[in-house]
Symmetry: D3
Subunit: 290 residues, 6 copies
């Protein structure tokens, strides 16, 4: 089963430009001082820790942007597991270009592989339960499409991309509308064709009310496992149930075993630690990511 | 002693625009469906965990960008410590605008306070040793100036902003130049007025050579504490010494006690977890960050 | 019942800038030659034909962009019907600014009111049948959010905004997937949370198959009224039915009376004629749009 | 005699980018769900109605922007007449790219061919009279250079591009300047080298006055055919005469036969209906536009 | 008689942004180090040499862009002559903002006043002859509208803004077209309404031919004064005559006295030296520009 | 010894785009009228005066931007001296593209060669003294990196790029800080790693104080040669000494002979006259720059 496609370049082109402008600015003083302009080199981009490969073509776009006269060869599939020493890519061309692009390539990869790797841990933790791990809008500003892509590479299902492509009636909306029933009715009436309505509920009663007025997609925020089980029992398959709030690697399986279909987790993107990746210049023969 | 000034808005304006475009897109479907356009509201932006306040005016700029008819009042100083429940800001205006801006404001704050908070832990860990914590170029692409600002708010000293405003002769450069001495000489000769030259060394011998040819700023990468002490002893105050590589909260004080002046740490920015911050609508009386 | 909110300014800001740059360029030669810089004026923006008001605040943004020292007062509600001579807005400020902004303001208004007016004709034609008029992606390049806003002001329901926020499995997709059933299954499996799947069918058989595998939203393209009636009879309320293709003001009511829920029409946006609107300088007392 | 060149890409590049961003956004959900990434295809872009070909290379630029690995072959000359079923272009490459680009390519073509086709009707209607059809500034915001290009392809002559490259003293300017004579004198005095002055007049007297003070280019707005004939008779060849206002396909020939040189018509661009064009995937052998 | 209006801000906004980004970058290190953030100040922007005032509001826009909390008061009219010590503007607000904006404000003013001042020298040199000084397209890249504005403030007449708003048939075009007569005929036939045709000629014969086929605007490039006189005598007032090429302050009056109407000079913009202007902080009472 | 590398294209891409947009706008009317679209041509870009070659690849980028189907061959090395008639580049391709790009290519070259040539005069004037010529921030707005590049090609050393990459404590800062000593101390304490501190002094006493508190880089502004000599004698090699203010080609050697290390000169960039360069179409055999 193939993974998600890299989002179209126009969605991350401006971030890539920002990244190079902020790092390179008017030029690399060190490289200019000590590297001859016609010097050529090869280098491997290598994992220094166990990781899930992600975003390799973004790194390639960084290198190409610095100097179109470089070459970039992918050495690991998106989503493949890499061990320390495994190559993710082979880069070659003018040494100056490689050194200028190095940090920005690695910064992108360390983030994207970091999110994919962190997500995979949660996905593995619920394996076999039938529950899906889902991302959130708690992504880094400027990184929405890349962060969500990395979560998908890690095995998560994407929730709505933003405020514009899904309706999620949260507790504040419910309060403003005067209760779950009027809120859901208003949302269903206003939903554009093609957009589903999800509503946040915090009790069995509200879950039943929501279904009764036509909601078929519920968010169960900050509910204990017992309450989740109770809602699953009451609602049955009248609605898709998504748990969220306070999910950790320690408790995610217990949540999954309550019978909910989806578990959404902000930490996939807001707190994924970077994974260690480096660029090694010169000959060598690294391993291959699997 | 006052903290660092927020970087000029032109340096983070494009990131802010990206962030709103990616989240809001053609409009907030939920708010449109269930919130009346003339409804007004107040809300507090509150810490939900202990944190170091940072980037509050960036959140204000987000709100103002969504709707200039809103008000944003800062309730905590940059760099102040906040406890769960403490207010960082008071926001008011059209309810729709508050809900549209909420996630992007929080995403910025959770990241910036996250970096400042994580940095403060390292700064506190070396208190009294005389060593300074320093950031690196391992920032998130697109976030260089904001990440470095947050590190400074946390108490770190900023290293160079990018490739353009400092010279750092690393191991690859030394190899290309044929040794530490020729590399340093070339770098000193080419350095623009106002730019200092730092050189990476990995042995006592190279440290001495570097000083002998005029370097007064050394990077000691991946050295054990014993070797650091040895270099400190040999070089004395002929150069500013900066340690880096493999620094953790556990070992940072031991490194600081070797006598180095600076300790640079990529994790300040590449692996800072988000801190929990929320927007609470309606009346209430949160605490005050100190 | 209130109408749709104007899309956030960031979604049409670039179009507005393009429009002023292309018309004003390095400056208005005529105004410069014959109008004194300190001359002030008032003017009414008036309907010259019966129309549905739409986009008045976009015109205000044009004027403000040309000169922040101008004033713009709306005189008609969005969606209100105006007769020839009715005022849509009152503008005042430096005469030069009014003349510079005039054509661009009018060009926006003639288009947006044109789409709203054309849409209203279709909406009125199906009044009482229970069917809704729906827009399409056949908007003018660069105008997606404004065109769809104008269609909504005219009384249409918006279909998906673009390729990213709805799934519509069309005939080409069905052929590629090997039939309606596998296509719908693949789409349902891949749909992000919050996104509904619509599938195009051309026969009663395919409509039933689509419902059987879980589709609850069908597009019936280029079907005669008889066939539509047959599909409505077979599918009942298992799915939302949308007719499209070859719809005109002459046949739209007959289509609506087949019992379909929605009728989508590209001509709302791709072929709406401009409505006549002018700017009248000086005193006067125009009527009021209702 | 060759037609007008396509305007330089920098003049429509931003519109093209807007168009793709608004339609594709973070990616095409449907294509991702049901089309395999390595599937290749051919398709013809075909006329579905009689039309004047226009803007084919703009469609090619859209496709190339979506995926540089596609091919686009023009099959009809700009300005050629196409019948239903005639090919305008042959496109090939990854099926996903073709489907992603389809709607935006067609939206550009339906508009540009629509303007060219509508213009050609007016041009044909005055054939043999010696009068030229001229466009106006009543173009769609953001579309000025493309709309004017399409009008030229249809056979019209372009009037000024904007406020910056021609002087047109209209009724409001005349009133401000205190009459036709002072207005024309001021305009002639201030006209940059290379810019002609056109002045709007509404009577035989004003036409003569304008010529007497040096104007050689008059706009006759909203004049009946009789008055136009009278002005033609009085002014003779002292000035170029352009009629405008209320021109339709029904009355344009009568206007042309009054002896005016030019007839300017806003409807060429503000009310041109789209022409039907589609993309047909797979084998086939369409006709050829002439 | 009033001077030219400042070009609309959208024509120089991008240049202003570039200028601030390149100078300020991530922030002013010196000001941050030694100036307290709440310190306020006044300063005069003063002429340090005799000059023609120009572009003062551009400097104001720079200051406002750096910090909207500053104030900027113009103290000299555009086009007024200033002596050393005369104030051009009074600025006030946060000291940090003044220091950050200082160099960019001065760099704009030194250039714009420099062009206006240099132009005024040529204008004064031909005073009384009836000839006008005209600018060219030899402006600094990125500075077209501002350079031409400054030339106009200095008293020059603007030639075409660019390739798009005027036709100038130069020697290369004449050669390509096969002579002056066919070149002029082609140009007149293709000229958009409102655009005049100018043709470069180098002999009396060509000047006469050009007039005979309808040109009424000639460019006489690199002609000696004697030849200019001869052409003036032959052509009389059949055409407007413009001399160019090799014009200096020494020979410009002699050229003007040949009877040509216009003299175009690239050096107005390509070689205008900066004039000295400084910002003086603190109390003081400078003179007033006249 | 090789010269400085051309700054990365992202640093001057926006200026190049501005330059083409402002000159070409919606298209070249003249070329369209008199040059056939399929006409091909060769041309040499030639020096018309003695000059130092600079920025040739920027001109190549201009041509390529106008039409990627053109060819551009460099014929002179950056920094080489050219005599009148020497070729700088050979361009070929569609005649229309060459004519469209001509003026913008030449405007860039005349400026960049102008700065390099003017700088070289100063560099030659101090040959053998050991002093270096240094540029300043008095560059043309929008041109910082290109102006500084041209100064470097001319033989100057670059001072800081902007406010962000060097600390220069000027007289205003000293006054605010309460004297040279506290100002220097504050600056040294706040300087980021890698940034040197330079301080402006105007007397022998202040120079000594500055050195005593740790400054090793002094700016001596507007000092007579005698005072410079005195400071050199007192400070010896405790600091790098840079003279500035009122430097001309006439007095620069006398300043250099005082023993200062550096002489910074704003006129390198703010008042460099353009050098004459032209594009000659057709066959020919120009000389070669040395």
């Amino acid at each position: 089963m193939q993974g998600p496609p890299l989002p179209p370049a126009h969605t991350w082109r401006r971030l890539l430009e920002l990244a190079l402008e902020e790092d390179v600015g008017p030029g690399d003083l060190t490289t200019r001082a000590v590297v001859e302009p016609d010097r050529q080199a090869n280098a491997f981009i290598e994992a220094r820790a166990a990781l899930v490969s992600c975003g390799i073509d973004v790194a390639g776009a960084v290198l190409h942007q610095v100097d179109p006269a470089t070459r970039f060869e992918r050495r690991a599939a998106e989503g493949a597991t890499a061990s320390p020493g495994d190559a993710l890519a082979l880069v070659s061309g003018p040494m100056r270009a490689l050194l200028v692009a190095e940090r920005t390539m690695l910064n992108f990869l360390q983030r994207l592989c970091g999110v994919a790797t962190h997500t995979r841990r949660f996905v593995d933790a619920v394996a076999g339960t039938g529950a899906h791990i889902v991302d959130t809008r708690k992504t880094l500003p400027g990184w929405r499409v890349l962060d969500k892509y990395a979560a998908a590479v890690g095995g998560a299902i994407n929730h709505r991309m933003g405020l514009f492509d899904g309706i999620l009636v949260k507790d504040n909306h419910v309060a403003l509308a005067g209760g779950v029933a009027p809120a859901v009715k208003a949302a269903l009436a206003a939903a554009p064709a093609g957009v589903r309505v999800q509503v946040e509920v915090e009790s069995v009663e509200d879950a039943v009310v929501a279904c009764d007025v036509g909601a078929d997609f519920l968010l169960l925020d900050n509910c204990e496992a017992d309450k989740l089980r109770e809602i699953v029992a009451c609602v049955g398959n009248r609605a898709c149930l998504e748990a969220s709030g306070g999910i950790t690697l320690e408790n995610v399986r217990a949540i999954a075993e309550t019978g909910v279909s989806r578990i959404s987790i902000g930490a996939l993107t807001h707190s994924a630690p970077a994974v260690d990746i480096s660029m090694e210049i010169g000959p060598g023969s690294p391993g291959v990511a699997r």
